[in-house]
Symmetry: C2
Subunit: 298 residues, 2 copies
């Protein structure tokens, strides 16, 4: 089985997987995100990061994520949804490194969300390809939680449309830079407080009003100072999940820590959420895309 390298290169992190056929035989989970790399030095940086794997050969490299954005190494135009996974492989941007590795960058996807606003993803489409190879259903919904959480509809083995929720970024902003997070003691997770926030999120109070309750419940000592992050997390994840169907099962793809949080919220709301590891989906998805690129039967 031939070796190749899969790379997930995002704004704030770099992860690489040394692959043999469809199997990951080694990982490199540490590396600088795009924001830490100067324009013009992507190739040099990649060579340094992958050095341990270059003993004898110039392995093919398949990359996904913000590395294909305007601020990345090479801008790869978005593919318009609805789109098949095969079309992503076909529209990958290819070039060759100084050390003769063939490289492909998988394009991101854009669409109009069900709320009729433009939306984009870069990187998540690979996890979707992986889940699609695992789950044979014709039509299903997926949540990919994170800085910019994505809610996706897969229809007929294609990415139909999606919407981005700024859940993770809003949580970081509010807990680190706003009055709501000011002068907090070390935080402890409270499932009770998290559930209380999910309960409130169902009222559909305007979010910019509801968030202020993280201050007033604290002032009133109705929520303890060490549980404010649990409360904020519940309000924001709740605001996202109250838009979801309670009749259809929904997949949740991500790190175990994040998907566990979403599963807790979903359970409380009566949503049937099935979690799956994001790395597993990424590896499965990028193998599928590579097989297509390499002309092998997936």
């Amino acid at each position: 089985m031939k070796r190749w390298i899969a790379v997930d290169w995002g704004t704030t992190n770099f992860r690489a997987f040394l692959m043999q056929g469809n199997k990951c035989i080694e990982r490199c989970a540490q590396g600088p995100g795009l924001l830490q790399i100067e324009q013009g030095s992507f190739e040099q940086e990649l060579s340094r990061l992958l050095q341990p794997w270059f003993a004898q050969a110039s392995y093919p490299i398949i990359m996904a994520g913000m590395v294909g954005s305007q601020q990345g190494w090479h801008e790869v135009p978005y593919v318009e949804a609805p789109c098949t996974f095969a079309s992503l492989a076909e529209q990958a941007f290819s070039f060759t490194t100084r050390w003769a590795s063939p490289v492909w960058i998988i394009p991101g996807v854009r669409c109009h969300s069900p709320y009729q606003q433009p939306d984009v993803m870069r990187g998540e489409e690979v996890q979707l390809a992986g889940l699609s190879a695992i789950n044979g259903s014709a039509r299903y919904q997926i949540i990919l939680p994170g800085t910019h959480s994505k809610h996706v509809l897969i229809d007929n083995q294609s990415i139909s449309h999606f919407s981005t929720y700024m859940t993770g970024e809003l949580f970081a902003l509010l807990s680190q830079h706003s009055i709501l997070g000011r002068a907090l003691p070390p935080q402890e997770y409270s499932l009770e407080v998290f559930h209380f926030a999910i309960e409130l999120a169902q009222r559909k109070t305007p979010l910019s009003h509801q968030l202020f309750s993280a201050r007033t419940y604290r002032l009133n000592k109705e929520i303890a100072e060490q549980h404010i992050h649990s409360y904020l997390s519940g309000l924001l994840i709740g605001a996202e999940l109250v838009t979801c169907s309670t009749t259809q099962p929904i997949w949740c793809v991500g790190s175990p820590k994040l998907t566990e949080n979403y599963a807790q919220a979903a359970k409380y709301l009566g949503i049937n959420l099935q979690t799956i590891d994001g790395d597993e989906c990424f590896i499965r998805g990028i193998s599928h895309l590579y097989a297509h690129i390499a002309g092998e039967k997936p």
Copy 2:
């Protein structure tokens, strides 16, 4: 006419007014907010700030704002709404400075908002007292835009209830610290883009999804890079104003620059918004409260 001093001391700013009866004869608009003052040095700082006005007398000082909060000089318990303005004067916290000035700190107000969540204000109650002295109507709504915008119902010359929207703080967080504000050129105000955002705000798209459109419209070049602040401002003010009645007139109390923005949004939404200067309301309100404290007929 006797002289006295009115002080509005908030988290990030200090403003003082030298008064003669109901008339402001001098202003001091520069001074450090509470966050810049160490606990225990409020008195010394106040003495330094008011020095120019202390030539011959120890004038009475009436203060309002976060100076009465837990993080302020003296914590003054909130008065529970519904409450009259007279009750605020009656529950002012009084003490005497080293230089023999009698001081009163006006309490803030707390309530449960119409969305059934706890809410608080400190400082705005003085502007409300001022507007109430100007506007004789029995029942009306008021918006006080700002970092934490307040929507208030006055009923029978009392503060009935209110809700806080984190409009100003969310705008600052998103424009300064989020991906939406990253690498923007100097901003220009665009009324067209502001209106476009107000139009979208009416769709009641979940806010954490809608905000992401500031990124995607920029990526798609449908909104110019120099108009992103106008767009964000429109989305956030819009999300606040779509909750308002279009059949009843509403007052808007604040700085001319802020109230003008709200007036533009309100006009677009068919809301009858009447703007009034926040300083004028503050001076009128604190005079009213001081007259009550001093036992004079307001």
